[in-house]
């Protein structure tokens, strides 16, 4: 028997006056999945999450969460939901302990009742339990917010950009905590602007300007990138990028850390010809290797397909 979906979104759209936040979204998230929504600011992640958390009503379509309709049965959903909106949303002038106790009380439970669930995370906060939440570092606030969202043992955890504004170390730790939570059977829905975090999810959806560009596992989604991809290195990066873009057969050339990811218009690039071109452009030390496309490559390719790359923000 197929397990029922934790979240089922069908043809959901939402506008705020003239601004279209979500065009049309269809998603199906099974129970126990760690699902990531990847996209930049303004992509519609927060709006989508708020609809799932029953805080907003969709203009069109339907959202079903944990088997309940998000409009008519929202109270049932709220009981089983743990939500961490952006900006941590803690009471800055209450202590760590007071915050946790408050959220436990509001959900009609106590800290002790589900302590086993948050123990690993809270143990890092314990030494600071009397410190005001406002005085914690970004990473600590994040952990506290997560504990407050988990304290009533929700079936679905919705985290809106929990790693924004947090240093790289804390970000890694946070995702390890999420993996452990997934093992407890909690369905987790996360949004993030960081592509490298996408790899850690079971499945991801790319959001751009209110539409879903693609949904798949991290491996699968890179499969959407059908052309061969090459990493080109040279010491003078800028010159390399401009030279590659001027190459007549170039389809795309984007900087990627230490190299430039290049894709060709033809089914397979003529590497010798390309090297000759680069050499003629003064890049004698250029080197090319074929590589497997990553998540970011896939995202940008999908953006290109949607016509997003040339016209930035045509609809504002």
């Amino acid at each position: 028997m197929i397990a029922p979906s934790a979240v089922r979104i069908a043809e959901v759209g939402k506008s705020f006056g003239a601004v279209k936040a979500l065009g049309r979204v269809d998603l199906d998230i099974p129970q126990g999945e760690l699902f990531g929504c990847i996209g930049a600011d303004g992509a519609g992640k927060t709006t989508l999450f708020r609809i799932i958390c029953t805080l907003l009503l969709p203009d069109r379509g339907r959202a079903e969460v944990l088997g309940f309709d998000s409009v008519s049965d929202f109270r049932e959903i709220r009981r089983r939901l743990g939500y961490m909106p952006g900006r941590f949303s803690l009471y800055q002038d209450l202590s760590v302990e007071e915050n946790l106790r408050f959220f436990a009380a509001v959900f009609g439970t106590t800290v002790g009742e589900n302590y086993d669930l948050i123990k690993d995370i809270y143990s890092q906060l314990e030494p600071f339990r009397e410190r005001r939440a406002g005085k914690l570092s970004g990473g600590m606030k994040q952990k506290l917010a997560l504990c407050c969202a988990l304290v009533h043992r929700p079936e679905l955890l919705v985290l809106d950009e929990p790693t924004t504004g947090v240093d790289a170390v804390s970000r890694r730790e946070f995702w390890q905590m999420l993996k452990r939570l997934k093992a407890e059977g909690i369905t987790i829905l996360v949004s993030t602007p960081y592509m490298d975090e996408a790899v850690l999810c079971d499945r991801i959806a790319f959001l751009q300007k209110g539409s879903v560009l693609g949904v798949d596992t991290p491996c699968g989604i890179t499969g959407l990138f059908t052309r061969p991809l090459y990493a080109v290195r040279a010491r003078q990066k800028y010159r390399l990028i401009t030279a590659l873009r001027r190459y007549p057969h170039a389809a795309s050339a984007y900087a990627f850390g230490g190299s430039v990811h290049y894709s060709d218009k033809r089914p397979a690039a003529d590497l010798r010809d390309l090297l000759a071109w680069l050499d003629a452009s003064g890049l004698e030390d250029a080197g090319i290797t074929q590589i497997e496309p990553g998540i970011e490559d896939a995202f940008m390719a999908l953006m290109e397909l949607q016509g997003e790359t040339g016209t930035e923000g045509a609809d504002g």
Partner: protein, 245 residues
């Protein structure tokens, strides 16, 4: 380094008993893209404030664009450009109004300002949106405009404080195209960022940990030195998780 556009020696800043910046020394040359990295609270912002003439050092020295940060902060402010993620331009003004305002602040005369304004709007493809309020434009456009406005007075150095937060990957790279072009024109770019892949776009980077400069050099050299394959790993190696908050 032929002529150091930024030069610091044991630059230090204390707040009471707390040392935010602990004796950092480095030099940055003309046309260099320098990535200034570090965890939150490592002292990056404080160091940048000293270099931009907003904060006086407690001890040590620094010169920016040839002016001393202690004795000539006003001169520094007139010779650098600054753009930060949190604020760059006024949201309720239009691009044209923003350019006019900042041009005036930088002391440009009317004729120059008009010419530059026209050229800028054309280069950024903002002519149609020149009179709309900034708040209704997409983030990527705003960022690029802010970057250009920071250079209206043709400064020798541009300071960028996390300029690419929150935009999609393509817009981010287009922004870096602009940075590359700027550096190509001989302007030094001093940039902080949380994106570790952007660190690799820089000519040299430094990583601050607890107020000290834990590493400085080209990305490749540092990766070799610490035996890691990415700047991300390098960062994690240096910025160990601190249980003491």
């Amino acid at each position: 380094m032929a002529e150091a556009v930024i030069h610091t020696e044991n630059l230090t800043r204390k707040f009471g008993a707390f040392t935010a910046v602990d004796a950092i020394s480095f030099s940055i040359g003309r046309g260099e893209i320098f990535g200034f990295l570090g965890a939150n609270g490592a002292g990056k912002t404080t160091a940048m404030k000293m270099l931009t003439g907003l904060l006086r050092p407690t001890s040590g020295s620094a010169s920016v664009a040839g002016f001393d940060v202690r004795s000539e902060p006003e001169k520094i402010k007139q010779n650098i450009g600054y753009m930060s993620q949190r604020f760059s331009l006024y949201e309720d003004l239009s691009p044209k109004e923003n350019i006019r305002f900042w041009g005036g602040i930088y002391g440009l005369d009317r004729k120059t300002l008009r010419e530059k304004s026209a050229r800028l709007l054309e280069a950024l493809d903002l002519q149609e949106a020149a009179d709309t309020r900034l708040s209704s434009l997409p983030l990527g456009w705003k960022q690029k405009l802010a970057f250009s406005v920071a250079q209206l007075h043709e400064p020798k150095i541009v300071f960028l404080d996390e300029p690419t937060g929150g935009v999609d990957p393509v817009t981010r790279r287009r922004f870096w195209d602009m940075i590359y072009e700027t550096a190509d024109n001989g302007i030094t770019v001093f940039v902080t960022t949380h994106y570790m892949d952007e660190a690799e776009y820089c000519d040299r980077i430094s990583i601050m940990v607890d107020g000290r400069m834990a590493a400085i050099g080209t990305p490749d050299a540092l990766k070799d030195e610490f035996g890691v394959s990415s700047i991300d790993d390098l960062f994690i190696r240096l910025v160990r998780p601190t249980p003491i908050e």
